[in-house]
């Protein structure tokens, strides 16, 4: 009898493993990878540089998706990530290029501002029970306005306006060059390493900290969590705040890559970040998902775009194909459930 139960248990476990979201996300990635090997653009797909550039290109989006993942697990959404990226890109350029702040101070200031604005969204959602979609939509509009206001609508670049009306070019600060560089014999971009760090932070929060447990519980059943004594408001505040913090990191990276702070930067990035999370398999209803899924989702989207671009597919077809494939991937994950 007991033996039989054990066997049953095992076969069930096997089935659970096949149904595991991580495996499904990975299957989608492998599929895209196989497509890449098929349409390898005369072997371009087999060169490490292609993969390095893919990772570098997707890093900024993936950093946004890290915070987005945590927010989505609480059954929320953060539409403000693109705008917060734009704002912090402008601020970082302003502080470093024009105000000549020390890099450490500029970095810290941007991170604090990003986290603070994220926390404001979290407060609106948690304390005032505004729907996450609305609260972060408002923050998205507000932060974009703020970015345009502090920059005067201009791109903040190394050409600094002097009191006499002329432009003088300042040297690119070393922090910009470092963030935009590649390490290990040019084999991996610094932004990609930053992404790895962000993924690690999220992984620790979600799997090792009490905070992570709160996030899952709130997304799984907010009222049950509240009645179980979980501090729902504080948790939301912190989680949206963390999302804002990641936006600042992404914004700093973006500024370094573009060598300027563009108040228009990050437009529609929130949509890419959400797509990454969803393709990874984190449930928009909340309570289920993980950062590993998001990382795989980011690679899937990254490869997809890379394959389309090395095969010189035009932008129009590329967008249409990407849209179709997102739906395909999501349907694929659904049917497997």
């Amino acid at each position: 009898m007991k033996r039989k139960q054990e066997i049953q248990g095992k076969s069930n476990q096997k089935r659970n493993w096949l149904r595991s979201p991580l495996l499904r996300a990975f299957a989608a990635l492998v599929l895209v990878f196989l497509i890449g090997m098929m349409f390898n653009a005369d072997g371009a797909f087999f060169k490490w540089n292609t993969h390095r550039d893919m990772l570098r290109h997707i890093s900024v989006f993936a950093i946004l998706a890290c915070g987005m993942t945590l927010v989505i697990i609480t059954a929320g959404i953060d539409l403000s990530v693109g705008s917060l990226l734009g704002l912090t890109a402008v601020l970082f350029s302003l502080f470093s290029l024009q105000k000549m702040w020390s890099p450490l101070l500029a970095l810290l200031a941007c991170m604090v501002i990003g986290a603070a604005l994220g926390a404001v969204s979290g407060g609106l959602v948690g304390r005032f029970k505004i729907q996450p979609f609305i609260a972060t939509l408002a923050m998205m509009v507000f932060a974009r306005g703020l970015a345009k206001w502090v920059s005067g609508g201009q791109k903040i670049s190394t050409a600094v306006l002097q009191p006499d009306g002329t432009y003088q070019y300042v040297d690119v600060p070393p922090i910009f060059e470092f963030l935009n560089s590649k390490l290990l014999n040019e084999n991996i971009a610094v932004v990609t390493l930053i992404l790895f760090a962000c993924v690690l932070i999220c992984w620790v929060i979600l799997t090792k900290l009490r905070w992570g447990r709160y996030i899952y519980a709130i997304g799984g059943n907010e009222e049950a969590a509240r009645l179980s004594g979980i501090p729902v408001i504080q948790t939301k505040l912190l989680t949206y705040g963390l999302s804002g913090f990641f936006c600042a990191i992404a914004g700093i990276c973006q500024a370094a890559q573009e060598l300027q702070g563009d108040p228009e930067a990050g437009m529609t990035y929130e949509l890419t970040a959400i797509a990454i999370v969803v393709i990874g398999g984190t449930n928009l209803m909340g309570g289920r998902g993980g950062i590993g899924l998001t990382f795989i989702g980011a690679m899937t989207i990254g490869y997809l775009e890379k394959i389309l671009s090395i095969n010189a597919v035009g932008e129009a077809s590329r967008l249409m194909l990407t849209g179709t494939i997102i739906i395909g991937a999501v349907l694929f994950q659904k049917t497997r459930k």
Binding site: N221, A224, L227, I230
Partner: protein, 519 residues
């Protein structure tokens, strides 16, 4: 008394219905004549709602025959039933609050010109006629949400009439109405009777049954106990019919070991969170000793669950000074505060407010005591697991693995998981709202035994259960609530199902001991 021969509108014969192998209705007969109010009575779970849902086309796989005006009929869906002139007014009303009165009345049966264009004028004229007929004063173009529940109920009736319904089913229509509004409703029912409508009326309130019914049918445990003319059935007999089941469940012996006072509640008032009436709980006084189980009886809408939530802080702050725990003031602020002070609440909605379904057993058990397992914020998985393992053994939770998601457990095991979660905080007072709801007999017995064990250790329990035999067997004392107030209090030896049922229905003559002042 009964005005001669009336034509039969409806006959339901040999109705049998099972849910996953369990018979909820067995060989039930029910009929309805023109111009008649036929009350369907019985305890919760007797099968009233199932019978009504069969009639309204919600449940379609049943055995037995339904005849409408003598013609055999079998509804395929609710729309089908509505087309045949059967209209149900549910407790959770089917109006769309944001839409206007007139749109609601014709929802799904809009008057159109050429099947495309809305015929607003005809709709409005017809709606106005119906509203006038009911004698209510509403603006047809206002959204339904502008009106109080009582008016919405009338709008619902107007909707039923607009469907050309001949049979109107009212499922506890007065639960949200005040006395005046009830009177108005009864007038309308009388009107409808005159116009030869047939009305099936479900209620738990004694006074209503005798005020409006022509005939009464009582269901108990899925069987029809009897049908009688209202004049021929005394209230005593009616209650006997309703509750007179043999107590077949075995309850463990209980030896009360009450100690000093743990919980004291004085003149507690709770505002209605939905805002339909000023108070859901009025002037409640109670005292609970350690080791004691105080049962709270009352019908739906009596405020008993709200009393629990209010004490637990679900609705937020309540002014201090009304509640004491272990002789010290108990601050009602939020669930977090209540848990810290040693209060736990098992809600009556396991899925909605008890479990976090996507999480596994371990995580659900540790949910309320996470701080204990995460010094400095870092989770200590091993300790958490050991604690969960202990509870799984102590409660006899049957699962393939403790990593199993709670969604996949049976009702009884789910309930044990939620109970284990609350035991983890070592509560001083445990509020149990329907702890055996949807729980199989074996697990019920386990839960009874656990309750006895906990009280023997000094815990105090407030218990709500709508199963009277269970309440009688488990409680040391019983308080009965009716419309937010305490109407009677019994010690276990004095209490009987009849006395409790009467007090719960607000029958003043049977008050054993009045608590609180009624002013």
């Amino acid at each position: 008394m009964h005005s001669g021969h009336r034509e039969a509108l409806l006959q339901m014969e040999h109705i049998t219905k099972s849910f996953s192998g369990v018979k909820v209705l067995e060989d039930v007969f029910f009929d309805l004549n023109q111009g008649e109010v036929h009350v369907l009575a019985g305890e919760n779970g007797a099968g009233k709602t199932t019978l009504i849902k069969i009639l309204a086309g919600v449940h379609t796989d049943y055995e037995g025959d339904i005849r409408l005006n003598g013609q055999p009929i079998r509804f395929k869906n609710p729309h089908d039933a509505a087309e045949s002139g059967i209209s149900a007014i549910h407790q959770d009303m089917s109006l769309i609050n944001s839409m206007t009165v007139v749109d609601n009345i014709f929802l799904g049966r809009e008057h159109t010109i050429g099947k495309v264009w809305m015929d607003f004028r005809t709709q409005k004229e017809r709606a106005q006629k119906l509203i006038d007929q009911l004698g209510i004063d509403v603006n047809l173009n206002f959204p339904v949400e502008e009106y109080p529940v009582s008016v919405r109920q009338m709008i619902e009736i107007a909707k039923a009439l607009a469907y050309d319904a001949r049979i109107i089913i009212m499922d506890e229509p007065t639960s949200a109405l005040n006395e005046l509004e009830v009177e108005r409703l009864f007038q309308i029912i009388q009107d409808l009777k005159q116009k030869n409508y047939g009305i099936i009326y479900i209620t738990h309130r004694m006074e209503e049954i005798y005020e409006i019914s022509d005939r009464i049918t009582v269901l108990r445990d899925g069987k029809r106990i009897g049908t009688a003319h209202a004049d021929d059935l005394s209230p005593q007999e009616l209650i006997q019919w309703m509750v007179g089941r043999e107590i077949s469940q075995q309850f463990p012996d209980r030896t009360p070991s009450t100690g000093k006072e743990r919980l004291r509640v004085e003149h507690l008032y709770l505002p209605d969170p939905t805002g339909t009436k000023p108070w859901v709980v009025e002037d409640i006084n109670l005292s609970l000793n350690s080791g004691e189980i105080l049962g709270i009886a009352g019908l739906r809408g009596s405020g008993k669950s709200e009393l629990f939530h209010g004490l637990f802080g679900t609705f937020g702050k309540i002014p201090d000074g009304r509640v004491q725990l272990d002789g010290r003031p108990f601050r009602i602020h939020s669930p977090i505060h209540s848990i810290k002070q040693g209060l736990a609440l098992l809600t009556n909605d396991r899925k909605g407010t008890g479990l976090v379904s996507p999480m596994n057993i371990i995580r659900n058990i540790s949910l309320s005591s996470l701080r204990k397992y995460s010094p400095g914020g870092w989770m200590q998985f091993q300790e958490e697991k050991i604690a969960a393992q202990n509870h799984i053994e102590a409660f006899g939770i049957k699962a393939q693995s403790m990593h199993q998601e709670v969604e996949t457990l049976s009702g009884g095991n789910q309930q044990k998981v939620v109970l284990a979660k609350w035991l983890e905080i070592h509560p001083k007072v445990l509020l149990l709202d329907e702890p055996t709801l949807g729980v199989d007999v074996g697990a019920k017995h386990d839960i009874y035994a656990l309750m006895n064990r906990w009280t023997a250790q000094g815990m105090a329990i407030l218990l709500i259960t709508s199963e009277l035999p269970e309440l009688l067997a488990l409680s040391d004392r019983i308080m009965v609530m009716h419309r937010g107030r305490s109407t009677a209090e019994f010690i276990n030896e004095e209490a009987t199902q009849e006395k409790i049922t009467r007090a719960a229905m607000g029958d003043e003559k049977t008050y054993e001991k009045k608590t609180g002042n009624s002013g």
